[in-house]
């Protein structure tokens, strides 16, 4: 347990955040194809190598979330990615969920996340390969009638079960209840749903005996829906709503809140994160690190050039 707390603290160290580069083969393929590159294992490897060997990344990145294939890959000159990252003081993380599936008896478009079956065996393999933390993404849809209690409770419970298994295997779980930005809902509605969903997630973590000091939370910021009237809000407003909501439901024992950037542009996500930290300092009594776990917001929009460059 002490090890888990140490790893969680390292991942949420001041000034550092997570690079989410755990896109599945299909998702990363779409991105590569847009850049005119074929979706082969070697191209995917080279793409990740580009990031993991960036000099100085260790100043700002505490951990990298990888897809299974990537965890086992190496640089062109034969050094394991896990080792290359470790040299920079960066910890290796692994996405362990197996994607979304429609929630039986759920509302229109609601999902649960697959992957609990066989999770323990998989985690032990990942630990042997050098992973120190894991990630599991649940998604919650918002509308006038969603989310249903079933979706909230099912996803919260599955997140807690995932977290418990990870801890038993020696991995710090990043717990990601992503409330989707799709929809026309207001920021206020989003805040209410955030409290409901994150509150239920924390309650599930308590119920399953997850050690809070050894896990991290990866929520969405409290923003209006992508189709809401008026468009994105000023960072100060995002910050106030986000900090207020999380202070109501996240106990201090969780060392870090690593925001996802899902649906925001790079500039938006960074500006909002900055404002969140300023708000936290101004409001006081925000005991957790408030940092990032960004994917698209950190990654270059287009991958260019041949693998060798």
């Amino acid at each position: 347990m002490a090890d888990l707390a140490t790893v969680a603290a390292a991942l949420s160290a001041p000034g550092k955040g997570l690079l989410a580069s755990d896109e599945s083969t299909g998702t990363i393929g779409k991105r590569l194809e847009k850049a005119g590159l074929p979706n082969t294992e070697d191209i995917r490897r080279a793409y990740r190598e580009l990031y993991y060997t960036t000099p100085g990344m260790g100043q700002y990145i505490s951990g990298v979330i990888m897809f299974k294939e990537t965890l086992l890959q190496s640089t062109a000159d034969g050094r394991r990615f896990v080792d290359v990252l470790a040299e920079q003081g960066i910890l290796a993380g692994i996405k362990v969920d197996e994607g979304l599936a429609p929630l039986p008896d759920g509302g229109d478009g609601e999902t649960y996340t697959r992957g609990l079956e066989g999770l323990e065996a998989a985690c032990r393999e990942y630990v042997a390969a050098g992973a120190k933390f894991a990630k599991w993404r649940a998604t919650i849809k918002v509308s006038d009638v969603l989310p249903t209690d079933l979706a909230v409770e099912r996803n919260a419970d599955d997140l807690a079960r995932y977290a418990k298994i990870c801890q038993e295997c020696g991995l710090v779980p990043v717990v990601e209840p992503e409330i989707l930005i799709d929809g026309a809902h207001s920021q206020e509605r989003f805040g209410a749903v955030t409290e409901r969903v994150v509150g239920a997630t924390v309650a599930a973590l308590w119920r399953h005996g997850v050690a809070l000091e050894g896990c991290l939370l990866k929520p969405q910021m409290v923003i209006p829906g992508a189709e809401a009237e008026g468009g994105p809000l000023p960072p100060g407003q995002v910050a106030r709503a986000t900090v207020a909501a999380l202070r109501r439901v996240v106990p201090p024992a969780i060392p870090g809140i690593m925001f996802l950037s899902g649906g925001q542009s790079e500039e938006e996500a960074t500006a909002n994160l900055n404002a969140i930290n300023l708000e936290a300092q101004a409001a006081g009594r925000c005991p957790w690190a408030l940092s990032f776990s960004f994917g698209r917001a950190l990654q270059v929009r287009r991958a260019r050039g041949a693998p060798a460059s």
């Binding site: 008896d105 759920g106 509302g107 006038d144 009638v145 969603l146 989310p147 249903t148 209690d149 079933l150 206020e188 509605r189 805040g191 209410a192 749903v193 409290e195 409901r196 509150g199 309650a203 308590w206 119920r207 809070l212 000091e213 207020a244 909501a245 202070r247 109501r248 439901v249 996240v250 106990p251 201090p252 024992a253 006081g284 009594r285 925000c286 005991p287």
Partner: protein
Amino acid sequence: MQAKMQLRSQRAATVGRSRVQTKVVCRAFNSMESAHAEELKKTAAYIAQKGKGILASDESNATTGKRLESVGVENTEDNRRAWRELLYTAPGLGQYVSGAIMFEETLYQTARDGRQFVDILLSQGIYPGIKVDTGLQILPGDKGETTTQGLDNLADRCKAYRKQGARFAKWRAVVKIGEAGCPSTTAVLENAHGLARYAQICQENGLVPIVEPEVTLGPGDYSIEETAFWSERVYSHVMRLLNEYGVVLEGILLKPNMCLPGLDAPVATPKEVARATVRTMMRSIPPAVPGIHFLSGGMSEEEATLNLQALNEEAPNAPWALTFSYGRALQSSTLKTWRGQEANWAAAQDILVKLAKANSEASVGNFKGPHPVPGGGRILQALRTGGAGK
């Protein structure tokens, strides 16, 4: 504003079988509509301000009677009134105390000179509070576990108390540990639901609820870790239900127990108490709660101060105030000094204020000693059940 929506399965009508309907609960947590929300937050923040704590003087008439009788004072309404007058008119008390919890009778009483107690307290900058539960009741089963009564007519009572000048309320739930089978799930959930429902009603009627889930110090040699384990479970259910019931956390105060081993186990050092207690709070209490006001429940006056000091040393940057809501730990020596004698009035008040000062210092990690009443023993009382809070 609560918006409850129902989602019906499209197939139910055609298939004709009954289905549990999935429901949406969406609470507007920023409750801007609630007239009371902003006032509740301000009141809670005032009571939880740095360097101050709460004087718990809400003993029922029967319990107060036992105390008075122990120093040879008859249990009459006037003696109860005089005893509280001594407490509330203590000069300078308001430097260290931000709230005083009263029993119903006391809320309506006056000093000898005719001033209302509520006005005397307010003139000292002390907010009047009111105990609203009507006592413990034994739960079915053979473990002697309890639930707390008092929800019936609570809304109306809150309105009346607020009109009289009360700004906050208190409800004590007790969870027993240290015996095989305790606490049962029934007891934990029953008490948590009672607290959440009480808190919701208070807020709707303009009173800040002090939420008191007491994992009680009892016989047995159970360890401090066992107390911490059960305290975490109890508090987590309480916090979960407070959120589910739409209680505004910035507008409540928490009154929990410190984590102590059983009465038959060796007494824990202040550092041990602090470590276990802080860890438990960090795991269970979101930062939106402005103040955690520990009960003294049986600790000696000195123990209560030293433990509070250790708590603040352990967590100097805690997101909530770590302070006191002490009854016996402020009153015991005060009462023994007074003994019902007019000649001892000033000396008794002096002890009270010194005790309040010591705990005020401890609540910001500044208590250096010596303690005004060192070396006292544990001040235990039996759990009273039954009776409608008389």
